[in-house]
Subunit: 296 residues, 4 copies
Amino acid sequence: MSEQIGFIGLGSMGLPIASNLLAAGHQLYVYNRDASKAQPLVKAGAKQGMKPVEVAQPGGVVFTMISNDDALQSVVLGQDGLLQRLGPGGLHISLSTVSPALAQKMAQIHAEKQVSYLAAPVFGRPDAAAARKLWICIAGQPEARKRARPLLEAIGQGIFEFGDQPELANVAKISGNFLIASAQEAMAEALAVAEKSGVDRTQLIDMLSQTLFACGVYQNYGKMIAERRFTPVGFAMELALKDINLILDTAEQTKTPLPIASQLHDRLISGVAKGRGQMDWSALTMGVDEAAGIKK
Amino acid sequence: MSEQIGFIGLGSMGLPIASNLLAAGHQLYVYNRDASKAQPLVKAGAKQGMKPVEVAQPGGVVFTMISNDDALQSVVLGQDGLLQRLGPGGLHISLSTVSPALAQKMAQIHAEKQVSYLAAPVFGRPDAAAARKLWICIAGQPEARKRARPLLEAIGQGIFEFGDQPELANVAKISGNFLIASAQEAMAEALAVAEKSGVDRTQLIDMLSQTLFACGVYQNYGKMIAERRFTPVGFAMELALKDINLILDTAEQTKTPLPIASQLHDRLISGVAKGRGQMDWSALTMGVDEAAGIKK
Amino acid sequence: MSEQIGFIGLGSMGLPIASNLLAAGHQLYVYNRDASKAQPLVKAGAKQGMKPVEVAQPGGVVFTMISNDDALQSVVLGQDGLLQRLGPGGLHISLSTVSPALAQKMAQIHAEKQVSYLAAPVFGRPDAAAARKLWICIAGQPEARKRARPLLEAIGQGIFEFGDQPELANVAKISGNFLIASAQEAMAEALAVAEKSGVDRTQLIDMLSQTLFACGVYQNYGKMIAERRFTPVGFAMELALKDINLILDTAEQTKTPLPIASQLHDRLISGVAKGRGQMDWSALTMGVDEAAGIKK
Amino acid sequence: MSEQIGFIGLGSMGLPIASNLLAAGHQLYVYNRDASKAQPLVKAGAKQGMKPVEVAQPGGVVFTMISNDDALQSVVLGQDGLLQRLGPGGLHISLSTVSPALAQKMAQIHAEKQVSYLAAPVFGRPDAAAARKLWICIAGQPEARKRARPLLEAIGQGIFEFGDQPELANVAKISGNFLIASAQEAMAEALAVAEKSGVDRTQLIDMLSQTLFACGVYQNYGKMIAERRFTPVGFAMELALKDINLILDTAEQTKTPLPIASQLHDRLISGVAKGRGQMDWSALTMGVDEAAGIKK
């Protein structure tokens, strides 16, 4: 059964996701700050709103895919925000990687308006989004999860439930990103010392990613790191720094020391300081190499 | 074609490996410092030597599976060491995780006696050894690699070649162990902050190890860490500390800063200081939890 | 020349400072959230206000000594805040260790009301405050600095100027606290390894603090750390964590990796997680000892 | 009372120390691997030996000032080593910063020959050595300490005793160097973030080193770091790395995690990897700046 749905945020992730919803037969109302980004969707049959509020229907469903806490608050709570119209019975599916603290706050504000807030952050780079291969972590009220499931099945390959409190899905998501960054840093360090010892980088990562670490993160990022090929930019270093800060903030609130996260933070902030904020996060390898005096 | 082969070192890894060589039809001469460990093999048809030198045949093949640099030097170079007898045309297959520096030294000493030294360190815990599921990294002269291959195929599921210089296989091995330890520490940290935020540890690790990290290291260690079940002891924390020191020594010689390895070192040394040297290395989780004030 | 002055915040630092201003002959109007703390000052001749605004005089001078950013904003900008009355020509001398970002914001808000905001954070524990031995870093408009100087001379032993922008004094202050914490952590580590090697802790710190490190921080904290005597509580671990977070926030904004600060953060957050937030920050030593398996 | 004494090792520290012993009226027999270094002393009346053994007298006193463990073992235990002649009743005063483990071994070997081994490592850069301003930590048998005192008083401004076991003085010495390096790293980090926030580096370090940190280490290194002037080379980064490795080795043996030392290790090894091994250790500042993207 197709549904009228709103979609806000048409960046490198939002655009392919919205396309898949459209392709699944849903009538789509889209909004993006830079309106030109909506063109391909409009051509394919979506309707475009000029303000976030315009894509919401009373009691309807709205997706958001927004890059950070501030921007999400703005499209939801602002003067033209979607909560101005979504109203009782509505469902807001938030795909963004935002802070658990904001998810908690959002859940409360939505509840006051009888709107459901479902946290549904996704794992996967833009190519995975296009291929409907995202992994989705969801948390929120049971009815919200039930209503969202068929919609989410059109954009991902697997859905994992984390309970009634939306922020738990966000914790799961930022934990995952933290693990990916950790794996990248560890690979970059291992390849640096191995290379300086005479081992071929590609030979080493091939062995590791066919055996102990035969999984996507090590295979894909391992190859990029071994070859020092940091394109295409699937996830910008600046956003990676944002996400490490999200887990460090969560650690602050729960009083949990995370030494590896602290180290990743210092690595990423150094990368941004050196002007690499828009490069793929795998370019943290450059910092590892520079510290080792490797010149490439 | 079966061959007479020597095997030195019947610990938790050496014993199942030797059993598999025996089961493959080779005549086996075994030696272990604590002679009683050889009983099961002797019952199954192996012959037992009382000194390392006794299991070597001139021009023959000897395997060693020894826990550290000093012990390996002793069984090879000592008064009763295997090099006293192995002689020209002999092949020493060293399965141990020793330092690249020792591998280099060994290669030279063996060459002077016209014996081949093949570094063949393995990945896998005792259950993998028993199941002939080891992954083996080899490096050494081409003829040595060729001669060793059929023997190694009887004990592992895959062989990866790293060239002519034996130490390169050791670098590959300790790089792998470094990555495994990194993954464990990162998981332990992520699960600590997630748990303190209200997320179920098992739910989180299940999601991660079915998606981004669908590989053995994350699945097996992830489960142990999530459940805080650090048995059986597949690899003792004390040995893990030894291996992190091996990569840090290699980093010292090549002047490569490895901040994650430094952090792991501090974590493991703390575990050993707290009396956990004989526990499985996944028990580094206890240190992560304690620092976070988690009481279990 | 004595002046009518307001003073807000009578904690362990504010109370002795206010006493010294009173003793210097100034007429003092004091406010504290917990009004009972003002008793000793009232007995000595101070007048008590029931709201922050009540201690401000149009065009007058008000000191604040408040524990964090939120509390400072509340007493300044709140409904009953001092800015409701201080007005054109007024001078607000902020002794608190707050974020550079807040100082910057405060300067702007004050300027809009033609009030001068002088950042004047102080170094020294409560006993130093009582003894008029504080060191004071000041930054703000030249006239503000000139007007404040004689008042500050009554409470400290030295004044250091950091220019026209108030936030620069705050940066100086949190840099200093970062260095003190670094010195404590380094001493705690050095004493742990020295003690485990057989060296007497006190003998070692005595040597160091009479020679290379013949200065207050090493002498005073060194003694506390060597003796594991973390009283009296001159500066609570919770506040130390706040200050390390202030410098990490400043590092975030300026994109500066600070690995030692990251390490201190993890140490302090662990202490707070273990329930030591109200202990003196020198108790970070307990975390160093615990990680080393030292039981005292 | 003047004494005939031997002196081995005429580097940047040994030469001024030997000069002071000569100036104090002692008859000096000197040895240095590069014999030409002895010229100034020979002109001033010293006699030169061509081998270490030649400067030792049976029952006499020999000083050594040697840069590392291996070199010390060579001049002491080698074929032409001083122990070949020093003999019963002799006293070897070892000024070098060597490992506690070597000091322990030396004490035993000397005792077997009825020679006293006194560990007497010194604090101070070459200018302090020239000015007889060294601080000296001594440990060894009571008679050895008593006999050495008047000699040491001619070269230093203060002597600190650490008991009967020579290695304890070495632990004290490397602990001190660890604290100096920690202070430098912390200052470099603080100045980086302060500078990026708009604070003048010199203004900040002046304030700190006149107040909380009014001691030599902060005043001297603080100035060098603030001004990024890393000359003259008082102590080479390569030697600093050696000393951090000495404390990390001691930490390894005693199972003591030292996270700050680990961080310093990574900083220094990176400096050496970048070709700065011969620069003054204060040049670790360059690594701090580079990571922060500061270009000078």
